[in-house]
């Protein structure tokens, strides 16, 4: 791969900003040379995925490309934080029946933590950030405590497992440290929510194995679960795998 290839694609990149990148043009570039990956980079999210996403148009089914390397992992985390933040915003906007004062205070704290995570990742990613995702909580009954807390538990345990599994996929130690700062807070959320559902279930055998280890999941496993709530199709195929 030479530098020239990158330069060559720059006009297409800026052109795409002004004008949505057409699928035809995208395929044309792919066919034009061997730099398939570079073409994918040139027209990732801002130009390509934003316009041909959700896998609903055409046969492309590409979705929003999370990207590769550390950027990809940060976008993956950003997607999950978008999900969590949106969920708790709805929980606080429409409190379930008989939400106690303490529950209201703690769930508001959690909402704010998730918004902070989301906004931080968005700021850190800058122009590399994926767009705002289309989410659905149609399976959640926001008036019912058990439905809300059950979903919260699922999200928090999922988040913990996602960060635990993604740690090894990160190259830059600074980013690993940042992921570490977030995951333990998700673990604290998970513990409290679980205790609210069932006392003493903060680190139950469903999440902590015989070696005293928490769950870890790879992005593909996590995204399959998250897809129940994320309508936007996400393309994780460029994420690191080890």
């Amino acid at each position: 791969m030479s530098n020239n290839v990158l330069k060559e694609k720059r006009p297409a990149f800026s052109e795409g900003v002004a004008q949505p990148f057409s699928r035809r043009k995208f395929l044309g570039i792919m066919g034009a040379g061997t730099a398939v990956a570079v073409a994918a980079a040139s027209c990732r999210k801002e130009n390509f995925s934003k316009h041909i996403n959700n896998g609903t148009k055409g046969k492309g089914n590409y979705g929003v490309d999370l990207g590769s390397g550390d950027i990809g992992i940060l976008n993956y985390a950003y997607a999950l934080e978008q999900l969590e933040a949106a969920f708790y915003m709805q929980v606080i906007d429409h409190p379930y029946k008989d939400m106690s004062v303490m529950e209201k205070v703690y769930l508001t704290d959690i909402r704010d933590h998730e918004i902070a995570h989301r906004e931080f990742l968005k700021a850190a990613l800058g122009s590399m950030a994926i767009p705002e995702l289309d989410l659905t909580f149609s399976s959640v009954n926001f008036t019912q405590r058990s439905s809300v807390l059950g979903t919260a538990k699922a999200f928090e345990d999922l988040g913990v497992s996602a960060y635990n599994g993604a740690g090894k996929l990160i190259s830059n130690p600074d980013y690993l440290a940042l992921a570490g700062k977030i995951v333990s807070v998700e673990g604290r959320h998970a513990a409290w929510i679980r205790d609210m559902i069932t006392p003493d279930s903060f680190a139950g055998p469903d999440v902590v194995d015989m070696n005293g280890l928490d769950v870890e999941r790879m992005p593909n496993e996590v995204l399959v679960i998250a897809a129940n709530y994320i309508k936007t199709k996400l393309d994780a195929s460029n994420l690191p795998t080890s």
Partner: protein, 283 residues
Amino acid sequence: MNLQNIISEIEKTDPDVYDRLDTRRNAMKSFAKTSGKIALASIPLALGSMFQKAYSSPSAPTDLIIDTLNFALTLEYLEYNFYIKAVASGIIPSGEALTALTLIRDHEMEHVNFLTSAISAAGGTPVSFTAANFDYTAGGAFSGVFSKYGLLLAVAQTFEDTGVRAYKGQAPNLMSNNDYLTAALQIHSVEARHAAHLREMRQAAGLLLPAGVTVKPWITLDQSGIASSAVQASYAGEANVMQAGVTITNIGGKDISAKAASEAFDEPLTKDQVLAIVTPFFA
């Protein structure tokens, strides 16, 4: 920017650069794999990552991993022996409280066993401690730790919050081995679950709480939530609201208080900071 030239330049001063970067071919291939898919603007970042991986470890990776795992094992022994005595103390209310501390004790035992095996598997010699090696009064600072329930919970909370910070600080030292890094992260989040639960227990018990402070499962500012300055070192730096140069308070125009901003991110401790905190507990 010409990547080939950059590596050639480094080769002049460091002939082993290609060995460090695996082989020349793999280095270029792996860089191409990464950089090909990301936008031009982030290439310096990707380059930085590539060289950081090659140069970050001062010692041989295996030695660093064994040292790091032995450090973790030392902390697990500290915790495990604490909970053995706590559960046997007879001052823990039966029911939920005793069940919780027993579960935590068992997790710490599992961590001891797991790390011992992992260190042996890596070709190292695991450290080993017994109850006789520890003084949980920390030279008298926590006198009555196994006879006063509030003090027992306060010390337990401090151990867990410190453990979370310790693992967080050590994670980058395990980056050269995916399996050990992942396992350490899996222990890290379990310690966070323990910490959250102990904080709930303390708030519910209402013992040793400073006036006007609610102890939540997460750490607010650098408040220990414990009416004793003896534990403050375990919370130093937790009030941080800047992450990677980004101010979290009111980030993105959202109404995020400094308290929430500090709670949203747990902070690491260095090995030296952790050793300073736990050394008084070694007899």
